[in-house]
């Protein structure tokens, strides 16, 4: 069955350290599972000020509907937004909080 192994905190640490570029095979596999399928219904990143500010968001049920923006956190570093999105996807897929903060 295709699922994430929730005990692999090492893969979370690896991604947090380096979100882009050469990854271990297991992290690559985990990211493929996280990124499979349409992004609608999953947490995505929204750039709210070009080059300066990002927030997390979720699209509505179809084109033409409002995008729900999470205004509780504002990220001033793109990598911080990417890490937050990873954690949100982990929760969406496993039902549990990502074990790495």
């Amino acid at each position: 069955m295709l699922s994430i192994d929730p005990t692999r905190t090492d893969l979370c640490e690896e991604f947090k350290r380096q979100p882009a570029g050469r990854h271990s095979a297991d992290l690559h596999r985990l990211l493929d599972l996280m990124r499979w399928g349409y992004a609608r219904g999953k947490t995505i990143i929204l750039c709210t000020v070009p080059h300066k500010e990002w927030r997390l968001a979720k699209m509505g049920p179809r084109r033409g509907s409002k995008v729900q923006v999470d205004n509780s956190r504002v990220f001033h570093d793109h990598d911080d937004a990417v890490w937050a999105c990873f954690r949100a996807r982990w929760k969406e897929m496993t039902g549990r909080d990502c074990p790495v903060e």
Binding site: A20, L31, R35, Y38, T43, I45, R63, G64
Partner: protein, 728 residues
């Protein structure tokens, strides 16, 4: 909902002295200011060379009243005559292939119904996906069961004004056990003889057009009496079927497939026009696979596929006109509009005066490729977007705007709301991703090249794909050297012939990009500003054509890859698309070809063991995003020199799918030797030459360290040598 000031112009490229119509829509009343600037660099990121524009003398700033203009999405056909359809008794029939039965709103098949005052009549799909008939103020008559999506049905309605009897029916082409093939319903209504506008695939709401149909419609027909339902359900041409001579109108969509007319075969020739370019050359109810090209058997292609999100021309009123000064220097310009916090930048590509060159170098701006990507919403069209790009979906403000608006007409990378592929793209609409201050892709990435040319004080003319299409090689032959953009991906036959003729006759081409000359398009032969592309057969394709629909309606040409049309890009550029990845870029290492005396001029000032381009603002390296490689089997000339190769890529880089004929797992950058880019040079007949950078990221490295780096050095060595008349 986010707000935008939006604008477009009637022309995308223009000459000095031309008059430009500027069309603007604002979410607010009040005034906006407008000025014309020359665009040098549109990259406003901290890593880039800096956002740079230059004011234009001779064009004053102006101020204008702001007003909102809507974007009229949705295709349909409008019939010229009205009186002939103002009928007491009537019958309607058509074949339909509905595609969006879950829309939850009415979708009109045909009729003259006006929702604003409940007059006229219409055969339609109701909000539950059931066939229904409305006549005037009477309650609709509806079939019991919803239809099945993407199935052909013959649908018909018969209404007798004297008795008030309605008969409604649908007959599915395919039989299924346990699912009735035919439905019939009977009801009552009172006649409504209003002479409203008659539409196919939509209905009226006062002056507006709504209830857009999604799916194919074939052979729509109208009669002026209540015909027997069994006769109406018979396919045209079969024994006992009604004939066009008996009809008020019987449209044959198999006629004028490349055009916008819908032709009535009935005695009164009640023709009409399509609006917003619904897709033609679509397999009809009777297509049976005996012909794949509509040109050879148009009678099997009598369907039009309508979409509620088609867009050809916004049709906005002109807010103001702009006369370009006769002395205006050729270049990339932008109309810069501002209103409070809102700003809009609308590009305008200014060529030299017709028949003249005002520089020895031309920058060939790939406007056909900009159009192919115009207003794309790949993140909601593709189920594989994050896997392909190795990134979590990140919306810009423009993405947010389009998602909440529904769309701004979509791109050839997208699926329509009904899941079918988008095959037209037009510039008669605001294009949010053909702007400065956007992602470094296509237009904005190409301003790295104009920025570098300006920094190196290399004068250049601008020529776009439209001039290349119109004039062929004549658009280029005055230039000693032609430089491409970072991603000149979409080419018509005439455009490709133009560039090939140029290099075959002594022209010197610098291909500063990758995945170029890859897909075949057609410009409409009559309508301005629109291209067609169908994702036929193979390639890294965003969607695939349905069987039998791979030939373009505009020209009858087979679309898809140039490789599958007999002209792989390697024949022209020495290299062709090999792999792609979008998280990090890499560098080039010199190859033995770089030490060939023929290439000595290219590497002046570059060390033997230097990594070429292990820096840059597009992925951090000069070898990145999309990559091309040399391959003699695909037409790389035998004397081509491979100067340098990049082959250190992570698993996020993927080999192109048209090259593996069978699935296996060694297709990524960490296991596949085809994931690479080759820097290539070769001479062409009559003193010409080609230099190919083979990487989209190449131009993003030009400005590094104040333009003092080996990517800039190599590029400058080539362009200066290519500009010298002496033979190579």
């Amino acid at each position: 909902m986010s707000e935008r000031l939006l604008a477009y112009t009637d022309k995308l490229s223009a000459k000095p002295g031309d008059l430009i119509q500027v069309k603007v829509s604002s979410p607010h009343s009040g005034k906006y200011r407008a000025r014309l600037v020359r665009m040098i660099c549109g990259d406003d990121s901290a890593d880039g060379p800096g956002f740079k524009t230059e004011p234009v003398k001779g064009v004053a700033e102006s101020e204008h009243a702001a007003r909102f203009q809507p974007v009229p999405l949705g295709s349909y056909a409008a019939i010229k005559d009205r009186k002939g359809f103002a009928l007491a008794s009537f019958s309607l029939a058509a074949f339909i292939w509905p595609t969006r039965l879950d829309k939850g709103e009415a979708q009109c098949i045909l009729g003259n119904w006006d929702a604003a005052n409940a007059s006229g009549y219409a055969l339609y799909l109701d909000a539950q996906g059931r066939i229904a008939l409305r006549v005037g103020e009477s309650a609709p008559v509806t079939l019991e069961a919803p239809l099945l999506s993407r199935h052909w049905y013959r649908v018909a309605a018969s209404f007798d004004a004297k008795s008030g009897r309605v008969t409604l029916a649908a007959h599915r082409q395919l039989p299924y056990a346990g699912n009735p093939q035919r439905q019939i319903a009977r009801g009552k209504a009172a006649a409504s003889t209003a002479a409203n506008r008659f539409l196919i695939a939509a209905w009226n709401d006062g002056a507006k057009v709504t209830a857009h149909f999604n799916g194919k419609i074939d052979s729509p027909t109208v009669y002026a009496k209540a015909q027997p339902i069994e006769a109406l359900l018979l396919p045209p041409g079969s024994r006992g079927a009604l004939t066009p001579r008996q009809a008020v109108a019987a449209w044959d969509f198999a006629r004028d497939i490349p055009g916008t007319t819908v032709i009535d075969r009935g005695p009164k020739r009640r023709n009409g026009q399509t609006v917003n370019l619904p897709t033609r050359a679509m397999t009809g109810w009777n297509w049976n696979g005996t012909e794949m090209n509509w040109v050879h058997k148009p009678e099997h292609y009598g369907a039009i596929h309508f979409h509620d999100d088609d867009l050809y021309d916004c049709g906005w009123e002109t807010d103001f006109t702009l006369r370009l000064p006769k002395t205006l220097k050729s270049g990339i310009y932008c109309l810069h509009l501002t209103q409070g916090d809102l700003e809009e930048w609308t590009p305008l590509f200014v060529t030299p005066p017709k028949g003249k060159a005002t520089a020895r170098l031309a920058f060939l701006v790939p406007t056909a490729s900009y159009l192919a990507y115009a207003n794309h919403q790949m993140s909601t069209s593709w189920h594989f977007d994050e896997l392909s790009s190795s990134r979590f979906t990140t919306f810009s403000q423009a993405d947010l705007y389009m998602e909440e608006a529904g769309s701004l007409g979509l791109s050839t990378y997208d699926l329509h709301n009904d899941g079918s592929g988008v095959c037209h793209s037009s510039y008669l609409r605001p294009i949010l991703n053909m702007r400065p201050k956007t992602d470094l892709w296509q237009f904005n990435a190409d301003t790295h090249i104009t920025d570098w040319l300006e920094a190196k004080k290399l004068p250049y003319d601008i020529i776009t794909d439209e001039e290349l299409e119109r004039d062929g090689v004549a658009a280029l032959k005055r230039y000693a050297c032609v430089i491409t953009g970072t991603h000149p991906e979409y080419y018509s036959e005439r455009m490709l012939d133009g560039v090939q003729d140029y290099t075959n006759h002594g022209g010197r081409l610098m291909y500063l990009g990758a995945n170029g000359f890859y897909w075949r398009i057609a410009w409409h032969p009559k309508l301005p500003g629109v291209i067609e592309h169908r994702r036929s057969e193979d390639g890294m394709r965003a969607w695939w054509t349905e069987t039998g629909e791979s030939y373009m309606e505009f020209t009858g040409e087979y679309s898809g890859l140039w490789r599958r049309n007999g002209r792989p890009p390697n024949m022209l550029a020495g290299v062709g698309f090999s792999a792609q990845g979008f998280d990090v870029a890499s560098w080039f290492d010199r190859m033995p070809g770089s030490n060939d005396p023929r290439a000595a001029f290219i590497f002046k000032g570059v060390g033997q063991n230097e990594r070429i381009g292990d820096f840059g603002s597009v992925g951090g390296g000069a070898a990145g995003w999309e990559l091309d490689r040399a391959d003699a089997a695909l037409g790389t000339p035998p004397h081509a020199l491979i100067l340098a190769t990049a082959n250190e890529f992570p698993a996020s880089y993927h080999w192109v799918k048209e090259e593996f004929n069978h699935s296996h797992s060694a297709v990524n950058g960490d296991t596949c030797p085809m994931v690479k880019a080759d820097l290539v040079f070769f001479e062409t007949p009559k003193g010409g030459a080609v230099f190919s950078a083979s990487s989209i990221s190449w131009a993003g490295s030009l400005a590094h360290n104040g333009y003092d780096n080996n990517v800039s050095r190599i590029t400058e060595n080539v362009v200066r040598r290519f500009l010298e008349a002496k033979p190579l």
